[in-house]
């Protein structure tokens, strides 16, 4: 992709290769699936626990109550953000060559949050628990590829934040 640039009226835009747009949509879709599956549940998946963390570090009962009151709405918001990202990527994913994706204010908010959610889930899967990285024994091909994707997503998000600074 070419970095995000301001595109007037508070919007930003960037050029995406079809494979990049398709990948973003696929990842957001996977995270959406994960979120949809756990609705009403007790956050058993480590990735979900990171997307919907405990609010009271030393009080499991208060955390459980907070979760009961907020998890559903937060989940719906995250699902909505994923849907927006997926919809925004659709045209570019199907194009014959690089094409521009333009994000208005609503999409910008959705992308920032959805990119974060995807990175959080990937990081959980990759076992990234410290600043700086990968578990040392994870040099299998899939982990290396996921790490590349994870790094690229960080680049995409950083570009988006930078475009908002202007």
């Amino acid at each position: 992709m070419r970095a995000f640039e301001p595109a007037g009226d508070g919007a930003v835009s960037a050029l995406f290769e079809p494979v990049e747009a398709a990948l973003l949509a696929q990842l957001a879709s996977q995270v959406a699936g994960l979120l949809a599956e756990q609705r009403g549940g007790a956050a058993a998946d480590l990735a979900i626990l990171r997307l919907l963390p405990d609010a009271y570090p030393d009080d499991p009962a208060a955390s459980a109550e907070f979760r009961r009151f907020t998890a559903d709405e937060l989940t719906e918001k995250k699902l909505r953000n994923a849907r927006i990202l997926i919809a925004d990527c659709a045209g570019a994913a199907d194009a014959d060559g690089p094409s521009t994706i333009r994000l208005d204010a609503a999409s910008i908010g959705a992308w920032l949050r959805s990119l974060t959610d995807v990175r959080l889930v990937l990081a959980t899967r990759l076992g990234i628990t410290e600043d700086g990285g990968l578990r040392p024994d994870d040099d299998d091909e899939e982990s290396l590829m996921l790490t590349d994707v994870y790094d690229w997503l960080g680049f995409v998000q950083d570009c988006l934040v930078s475009a908002l600074e202007d």
Binding site: A55, K78, D131, G133, Q157
Partner: protein, 94 residues
């Protein structure tokens, strides 16, 4: 000096109003640029203040980003989770 019922009520009230804080914790995923942006955008910190708090999160492992009632702090925690940051709330004097 003896405790009158009035002074007992006052200290009970003070306990109820005891401020809570919202804490944002460092995590290995979130970009510093994004965290600073969230602080500016949601809390309305100016650029410098947002940078200071973000660096505090990064270097100290955590930073207080708001103080107030328990309910207000719960709303902030919810908002932080919406952004994908890791936040908790606790009593200010804990």
């Amino acid at each position: 000096m003896t405790l009158t019922s009035e002074s007992v009520d006052t200290s009970a009230q003070a306990a109820l109003d005891s401020p809570w804080v919202t804490i944002v914790w460092n995590d290995p995923v979130n970009l510093m640029s994004y965290v600073a942006w969230v602080f500016r955008s949601y809390f309305g910190f100016d650029r410098e203040e947002a940078e200071i708090r973000m660096l505090r999160v990064h270097n100290d492992g955590r930073a207080v980003v708001a103080t107030g009632s328990r309910e207000e702090m719960e709303r902030h925690v919810e908002a932080m989770h919406d952004f994908g940051l890791w936040a908790t709330l606790t009593k200010a004097d804990a």
